[in-house]
Structure formats: structure tokens, C-alpha cells
């Protein structure tokens, strides 16, 4: 709830950001359609088959991909399985609490899930070991480590990178029905490069990649995922309301920014 002072400090900040926005400016000096710097930390951080530790400005996330073997869903016997999970770790923000994923965490996990499904990025049919019985399960666990706004784009980018880096351990099916790793690996078949772009609206102005202060002050928030062909693969109006033209304009910006981000991630081929 916060004390009286906190409340008025927050509303002063909000006023200040609105003021800036109405002049086309942002507190950290960025242009309205400018993302914060993306850094990819090098090293070995998890026991995942794929991983990425990524920062977007002062926001930091860590994604690990585990590949397991299990049974397919009854209605898709010839397809592997993708599962996403988001943990808003209490280390990332004073407002995050330990416990099962809350609605924000669930929304982000499902949004990232749709980004990959909506773009048909993963060739699930290559993840079948024995049709109808054994398939690879790809589990994407997304950890928010440090929250300075726009976690969702950071998590989506890190997930994309982690999936692109994932090496699936080939297994052989034993006579007793269990499986044993063969020692070989193959790269997870990721065929597309869906990239997430989030926008805040403050005082009628759209701004890309909102910081935490901007998110808190925003009248409305939306996230869209665009693929290499400029198609929109996933969309989520998260809070507030947008005019249809605002949404269309944001999509144009996202399409325009796609190559720059893909390049920064090292995913721009040719």
C-alpha cells in the first residue's frame, strides 16, 4: 500500500513522465522507439540443454531449457511438447514474493509460449522418438533476476536465444521401455526468429521497451511478437486501452525494429 509520502512521490514521478512524454521525451533520454541496450552474458550458468543470461538495460533474466523424454499429448501423438514457466524471483524486485506463479507470471509464460507456437518456430514433428508413445519435452524455465521494466521482452528474447542454442540429447529406447542417452546431440529445430516488442502509452504517446518507472506510470501496455517475415505471431494488450491506429502504428515500429534486434542477438542470417 505504501505510505502517504510514497504515494505522492509516485504521483509526482508520473506527472513528470507524462510531461516529458507529451514533449516526445523520456527520463533516460531515449527516443520513443529506442530500446535499451541488450547484453548477453557469456559463460555456463545452468544444467540446461540450452540457456541464456540476458540484460535489457538494468533488467536481467536467465532462461534455461531442459529437454526431457515423455509421452505426447493424446491429441498430438506425432509432436513433441513445449512447456513454458516463468518465475518472478523475489530477488528481482521488492514487490515479488515467493510462491506459485501469479497472474503476471502466468501471462508472461503463456505469451512466450504463444510467440513460439504462433510463429510455428519449432518443428515439433522432429521431436518424436516413437510416435504416440515417446517424444521430447522441451521445458523453458524463465527466471526474472532483476526487474527494471519490460520483463516480458527480456524473457522472450532470452528464451529465443536459449532455444536456438539448445542441443537435444539423442536417446535410444531400451527393451524395458526406458531410454538411455546415446551420447549424440542434435540442435533443436528452431525455424523462425519471433521477437517480442512491448509498448507503453503515456499521455497519448507510445514508447518502446518501457522502463519500470514508465510501466508504473503507463496508461496502457501492449506486447506483440513479429517474425522474420514481418508477420505478427502473437499479441497481448496487457493493460489499459489503445485506439486501433495506435496498435497499427506500434506494429509498424516493431516490424521496422526486428532486424536490429535480431542482429544484436546474432540471429540475423545471410
Amino acid at each position: 500500500m505504501g505510505s502517504q509520502e510514497e504515494v505522492s512521490a509516485a504521483s509526482l514521478l508520473r506527472e513528470y513522465l507524462r510531461d516529458l512524454a507529451s514533449r516526445g521525451e523520456r527520463k533516460d533520454g531515449r527516443a520513443m522507439d529506442e530500446m535499451r541496450p541488450i547484453e548477453i552474458r557469456s559463460g555456463l550458468f545452468t544444467k540446461g540443454e540450452g540457456e541464456a543470461w540476458l540484460s535489457l538495460g538494468d533488467t536481467q533474466v536467465l532462461v534455461g531449457v531442459k529437454v526431457d523424454v515423455g509421452t505426447p499429448f493424446p491429441d498430438t501423438p506425432n509432436k513433441g511438447v513445449l512447456m513454458t514457466n516463468t518465475e518472478l524471483l523475489p530477488i528481482a524486485s521488492p514487490t515479488f514474493e515467493p510462491g506459485p506463479p501469479n497472474e503476471d507470471a502466468v501471462e508472461m509464460a503463456r505469451l512466450v509460449d504463444r510467440a513460439f507456437r504462433g510463429s510455428n518456430a519449432i518443428d515439433f514433428e522432429e521431436l518424436v522418438i516413437k510416435e504416440g508413445q515417446l517424444v521430447y519435452l522441451v521445458m523453458v524455465d524463465m527466471y526474472a533476476l532483476d526487474h527494471d521494466g519490460n520483463l516480458v521482452d527480456a524473457l522472450e528474447l532470452a528464451s529465443l536465444l536459449a532455444l536456438k542454442r539448445t542441443n537435444v540429447p539423442k536417446v535410444v529406447v531400451r527393451e524395458d521401455g526406458g531410454v538411455t542417452p546415446s551420447g549424440d546431440f542434435f540442435p533443436l529445430p528452431v525455424r523462425e526468429t519471433p521477437i517480442s516488442f512491448s509498448f507503453a502509452k503515456i499521455a497519448g504517446r507510445l514508447m518502446l521497451d518501457p522502463s519500470l518507472e514508465e510501466e508504473v506510470a503507463a496508461d496502457a501496455l501492449m506486447t506483440m511478437v513479429v517474425d522474420s517475415q514481418g508477420r505478427v505471431c502473437s499479441f497481448q494488450k496487457r493493460t489499459g486501452a489503445f485506439a486501433p491506429e495506435e496498435i497499427k502504428r506500434a506494429l509498424s515500429i516493431a516490424r521496422e525494429k526486428w532486424p536490429q534486434v535480431a542482429e544484436r542477438l546474432g540471429l540475423l542470417e545471410g
Binding site: 500500500m1 493424446p74 491429441d75 506463479p101 497472474e103 503476471d104 502466468v106 501471462e107 509464460a109 503463456r110 504463444r114 507456437r117 504462433g118 510463429s119 510455428n120 496502457a220 501492449m222 506483440m224 511478437v225 517474425d227 517475415q229 514481418g230 508477420r231 505478427v232 505471431c233 502473437s234 499479441f235 497481448q236 494488450k237 496487457r238 493493460t239 489499459g240 486501452a241 489503445f242 485506439a243 486501433p244 496498435i247 497499427k248 506494429l251 509498424s252 516490424r255
Partner: protein, 254 residues
């Protein structure tokens, strides 16, 4: 241990070259819709909506005291929403209780309605919105949002205007209105949309792609057209509470 008995086969074709869909509709037709307001006695506001094979009850309690108290917002109303599917709303019985999908949809519906509510008028209170899916047949979040908007109005909550929701989608090369169960399961893209009808702002938009930019813009425009039709029914239902407002809204015929 239970086992599935209703594994379904996809239809051979979802839409003919002439644009005829599996339920006989044209690409821009809505399914039959019925709306009734004021169907429950205890709730402060309520609505019952039949939309195609969907059956949905929405109810509103509030503004009322917040429990637990520490959630109270001093300067405005807290708005909570629960989207819930009945165990008997699906082919295979659904386990009661929230799952990830219903947690997300509860948020999505709340955020679709929130911009319409004058929350400043009810500081320190809570408005509870409940959307109960008792029969599910594609498009429940949109039908549920539409129903909840009626229940809010029935409860006398001060609003900027009604919220009207419906889905559009892509099936092959067609952008279609209000996808049915087959299209939802086996179609290409589903796009649920909600509008705050006063100023035509979008308060709900999701998409499970891919759509080209042109298709995306076409989908938004089609959704707007469908919303106009549904909005008229909502207004009519509010004018005649406790009576069923019913129409099969086919674009071809209107």
C-alpha cells in the same frame, strides 16, 4: 485413473472455396446469440449469454467492502475478476479449480473491462466480477467479457460505456468472423478483441498468429463490424431486463 473417450477427428475442410463454413455460416456471419440481463436474485448484477454453443453466466458483486482489507485501494475501487470453467462445460470433464489458462483469462477479461469502469467513484471498495462458463464452444473469453459488461451495467456500476467482445480469425486465406469450435481447434489464427464502444478503443486484443500486416488490419476492421452488431443486442438487452434478447446475426442478411 481416467482415460479420454472423446478424441476428435478434424473435419476434412474448414471452409469451402465459396466461403461456406462447417456450420453453414458465411465468412462474416456471427453465430446465433441470446442475451438476458438480471437472471440471478442474489448478485448485484447478472447476465446470461448463449453464443453459438456457449452458455455463460456473469455476475457482479459490489461496490462492497474489501476482504482481505490490506488489498484496499484508498483512491479507487479494486476490480477483481474470476473466469471459471465448469467441470461439465467440456467434452472431457474439466477438473475444478484454476489452471494457467483460466488465471490468464481472468486477468485478460478484467483488463478488458477496467478501462470502462469509473473506479475513482468507488474509492476503498471492491467490484467482483465472475464469469462462469457452463458450456464451452469456442470464444468463451469474448462471450464472457460481453456478458460481464452487461452484468456491470445491471449492477448499476458507473461506466464510460459498454465493452463488447468477439473473436475473428484466419482460416486458410479467409479472415472470418466469430470462429466456431472446429475453426478454433484446427484453424490457423484466432484473434479475440474487445472494444470500449463509446470511443472505439481496444481493451482486449490477443492473437495466436501468424498474420501479415494486411491480414491483421483486416481482422481488426472485421472485428469492429461484428462488435457493432453485438453492441446493439447488448443495449437492447439492457432496455428489457429479464427478457431474452435473441438474434442470429448474419452479415449477408443485414
Amino acid at each position: 485413473m481416467k482415460m479420454p473417450i472423446y478424441l476428435q477427428e478434424p473435419p476434412e475442410i474448414l471452409i469451402t472455396p465459396e466461403g461456406v463454413r462447417t456450420d453453414g455460416r458465411g465468412p462474416h456471419d456471427l453465430r446465433p446469440i441470446k442475451m438476458t440481463v438480471g437472471v440471478l436474485n442474489r448478485a448485484d448484477g447478472s447476465a446470461y449469454v448463449e453464443w453459438g454453443g456457449n452458455r455463460i453466466l456473469a455476475a457482479v458483486y459490489g461496490p462492497r467492502e474489501v476482504h482481505p482489507k490490506h488489498l484496499t485501494l484508498p483512491d479507487r475501487a479494486l476490480v477483481r475478476c474470476r473466469y471459471n470453467m465448469a467441470p461439465f462445460s467440456t467434452e472431457e470433464r474439466k477438473r475444478p479449480g484454476p489452471d494457467r489458462r483460466s488465471i490468464e483469462l481472468s486477468k485478460v477479461i478484467r483488463e478488458a473491462l477496467l478501462p470502462a469502469i469509473f473506479v475513482d467513484k468507488y474509492p476503498g471498495t471492491v467490484i467482483d466480477i465472475f464469469v462462469e462458463i457452463i458450456r464451452s464452444d469456442a470464444g468463451t473469453r469474448c462471450a464472457g467479457t460481453t456478458a460481464a459488461s452487461l452484468a456491470l451495467a445491471d449492477a448499476g456500476i458507473a461506466m464510460r460505456g459498454l465493452v463488447t467482445a468477439l473473436a475473428v480469425g484466419r482460416v486458410g486465406d479467409w479472415i472470418v468472423m466469430d470462429p466456431n469450435h472446429d475453426e478454433d481447434m484446427y484453424g490457423d489464427v484466432d484473434v479475440p478483441v474487445a472494444f470500449l464502444m463509446e470511443d472505439k478503443e481496444i481493451t482486449l486484443l490477443q492473437l495466436d498468429g501468424p498474420l501479415t500486416e494486411d491480414e491483421f488490419n483486416e481482422a481488426l476492421d472485421l472485428a469492429m463490424k461484428g462488435a457493432d452488431l453485438v453492441y446493439e443486442m447488448q443495449k437492447e438487452a439492457l432496455r428489457r431486463p429479464y427478457l431474452v434478447v435473441e438474434r442470429s446475426v448474419a452479415g449477408r442478411e443485414s
